[in-house]
Symmetry: D2
Subunit: 311 residues, 4 copies
Amino acid sequence: MTLPAPLTGVVPPVCTPLTPDGEVDPPSLRRLVDHLVGAGVSALFVLGSSSEAAFLRDRQRRQVVETVTAHVGGRLPVLAGAIDMTTPRVLDHIAAVTEAGADAVVVTAPFYTRTHPAETARHFRLAAAASPVPVIAYDIPSAVHTALDPDLVLALAAEGVLAGLKDSSGDLAGFRRVVTGARGRADLTGFTALTGSELLVDCALALGADGAVPGLANVDPHGYVRLDRLSRAGDLAGARAEQERLAALFGLVGVGDPARMGGGSSALGAFKAALHLRGVIDCPATADPQIPLAPREVERVAGFLTAAGLL
Amino acid sequence: MTLPAPLTGVVPPVCTPLTPDGEVDPPSLRRLVDHLVGAGVSALFVLGSSSEAAFLRDRQRRQVVETVTAHVGGRLPVLAGAIDMTTPRVLDHIAAVTEAGADAVVVTAPFYTRTHPAETARHFRLAAAASPVPVIAYDIPSAVHTALDPDLVLALAAEGVLAGLKDSSGDLAGFRRVVTGARGRADLTGFTALTGSELLVDCALALGADGAVPGLANVDPHGYVRLDRLSRAGDLAGARAEQERLAALFGLVGVGDPARMGGGSSALGAFKAALHLRGVIDCPATADPQIPLAPREVERVAGFLTAAGLL
Amino acid sequence: MTLPAPLTGVVPPVCTPLTPDGEVDPPSLRRLVDHLVGAGVSALFVLGSSSEAAFLRDRQRRQVVETVTAHVGGRLPVLAGAIDMTTPRVLDHIAAVTEAGADAVVVTAPFYTRTHPAETARHFRLAAAASPVPVIAYDIPSAVHTALDPDLVLALAAEGVLAGLKDSSGDLAGFRRVVTGARGRADLTGFTALTGSELLVDCALALGADGAVPGLANVDPHGYVRLDRLSRAGDLAGARAEQERLAALFGLVGVGDPARMGGGSSALGAFKAALHLRGVIDCPATADPQIPLAPREVERVAGFLTAAGLL
Amino acid sequence: MTLPAPLTGVVPPVCTPLTPDGEVDPPSLRRLVDHLVGAGVSALFVLGSSSEAAFLRDRQRRQVVETVTAHVGGRLPVLAGAIDMTTPRVLDHIAAVTEAGADAVVVTAPFYTRTHPAETARHFRLAAAASPVPVIAYDIPSAVHTALDPDLVLALAAEGVLAGLKDSSGDLAGFRRVVTGARGRADLTGFTALTGSELLVDCALALGADGAVPGLANVDPHGYVRLDRLSRAGDLAGARAEQERLAALFGLVGVGDPARMGGGSSALGAFKAALHLRGVIDCPATADPQIPLAPREVERVAGFLTAAGLL
């Protein structure tokens, strides 16, 4: 299907349920998709950071996209990450995920290598030239160790290279420069600006973002859909209250002991533990080499869910 | 063939010659291998940073290993990088490069993700458990944005997980902790410590390193072999003089205008331009999205070669 | 005078006008204070980053505080930075600025040294124990290279160590954790949360911040006072429009050529050039070793002022 | 006295003994000076990082310089740090330490502020213009968060701005570029290149450094003097053995529990504990807000001393 321009609303970055031996679990993935679609989300984003894309083998990535696009059946758009170090490898992923049915691809700046902004620009231009579907830039400096300059994003959008931005920079002021810069420009009609900041969705929508890609929406998609609707209805106080409820729930990402594991293991482990506790997925396993949550840490996840009325 | 334990001498990280349209150029690659082997190197390292591994598609990576192992025919060991973000993806690369004939695999810490040292340790343990050949750790914080702790390297070596270390950290004091820490320990006999610092090979050998993996050895393998032999013969003044000559030549990595391109594009572009100027490879192209050197920058490479007596 | 608890509204970080030979210019400083007070600001913050505190000699710092407190004469509170590397040096600055009449002190985490969070906590406890006036924490990771953890800020506030937070982290989500965490707690009544993000004041106020410390308020204090009043009146659309007008004006911080000077020289040079062009201060000089703006760069500042209706 | 050009040998960065209440302890400081001078060091460096300069009040800094210069009485040169954020503040320190008798000043790049290389160059030029004694650049990126470019150092040396470099960058390859670049240039005769890397002094001397500034020389000055003499006598194997003995002793910097304190507190605490255990200073206290070593950690320091034959 054609990607709406702009794409609005809640676009969850879909977790990838795994079996205990690390394989993709398609029945759980389909139940997770139903859980999200049933809550009223606008589109799905697979193979992003919350999907553990960095941990999935190529055949698993393809399996995820095929499973989700087949199950969704065109009811709503499916965006897919094409996450790899440099252009030639990203082009291979673009080919794979679009053959598997993705309606748009999400591409980061190069990483591992030392990249000049001019090289990042070339990277996106080459990706767009090779992609049969729209390209959305994924700004995630915590992973790629460079940030996208707002002026570069706008310039590439005006060239027709970028259809949108998924902002996980944590820098709301920079994101705002893109949102405000795109507004009212005839050549940027249809540009999609999505925030990935779970804790600032109300602010991002208030300043003009089109939608949100909150990892926590895996756990509580209804909450983010309510927040989005309150915001669009102009009930900013209501949106803020819903955001604050979700912020309290977001505390679950910190259950993992930082002496034992990284922040990513803790957050992804907590999302999956929550989905398991809520009965959506069969197994809360995360991919290697992540450290799994201990039972006492899973209990803390349950506490957060209970406090949020989700268990 | 079995990897020597320890592996000593010069182990060049072999550049990957490309055609103008970005495909691997096997005849040029074979000529480059002949150029290196003929100079007296001890082993070859393919699919490292100097090989543009981060830029090669999976089918190209496999082609590089197959081409080199077939051409070398067991005359000396071939080490291959298995460079990817996390364990499951690295395991796929290990399977691919060892099927293609690699005698050892070189593995970095996870990247893109936020990684805890305990997860890095698991990563290496899982890689070693799955690998039919020895695993050498690749410490390259400029690319992966974490550094390997010397104590962790030694502990994993004592467990039998790591057969060696390829150090591109730039931190000679940390590398020395590994070298000195391994010396005289019965359980670490055979551990290989290789420096990747082109400009400090004489120092690294003097403090006890087993060998060197200098990217510049693509351009002047004879120089590094001389340096290695002088050092082993105890002629430290001679080694230093050779090292200083090579350091002057290394200035070629800076020919690229930093306003136009990244440091990686400049360095790899200069290595390949030098190999082209010396008649070893047919085309100096680097992979996308790197910016190519301009003619005036290639002229500066030629100037460095002339000054070093290589043209 | 006693610091309001909480302190609300616009608290400009007052620029320090200098003479051509680098001395403090008291008449210009008094005119700047009049310019700000006349616009309706709530308090003044001297010796912060926008004041070039890092560039002022100790005698100049004292002169700034004495000049401002004498001129203000208790009409509104004067906060003063006590910016130095570690606790003993900060205590000397606290003594100096409070003797000179400051109503509160603003203190960063230690810098230059490698600091553990437990040491940062000790630092604030010792500062508060020695200070005759309230201590406000200044979170500015771009300068000190560590960030304050929201939980630590709240814990120190509950202990009575911190009276408030001046947040220049750029991390609105982290700031929100402090604002939301302090709300409704009896032991944190009176805690002041101030944002230093010029471009997100509307968002910060909407999520519950008490006030703002925008460097750009030197140039357009009336704009920020309007924004603050619109926000408090519940006119969020009006606040957003005013914020967007100010964001456009903020573009002036980028007039300096990044090939010639740092971002700080450009921003501070532009603020002072604007104050000079608006007739508030006599000389736009910045302190050594900053590079001054070139005439063509000052012209661009004038262009921003004209576009904003300020010239 | 006039600074030798170049200055060679061991130049310990002298610890600052404190009383339990945080004041400078002149008798202990004089005993420490005797301990160092008696071992055969070439000069003394006060008010550097190992001296806790960042933690000393201005009156304490002056007291340190006066105490040491008076006690040394011109027997050997005294270098003094003029460590502060920017040029005007550094100029005040230069005036203070030279009035107190320092024979050279040691100056870092600006910190806390965002500094462009052109501003760093101006900073050193202004410092040299104002200083009655030679200026030595202090490259310490771990503290100031920028590194000095070797080409800039050489250019400023050729201008007559810099008399030398104290390298604490940890980047031996960059330091070597300065050493090799200065060699044989008529305009750089007399330039002094000193390494601050405790663990690489043998390497640094072998590649041409003039001397060393090892913090650990407070604890074992005789060892570093032996190492320097072995190196100058061409006994590189002997130098290496002495260096490895000192490297084992250097392990004492890690006795502090990283869950409780920063690396600086651990290292400085260990140096002072060792000096206290060896009977050189009266009290091992470090300045606020550093966390003191626990008794079990001090016992580990004693173990290192015993193993090194120093207790």
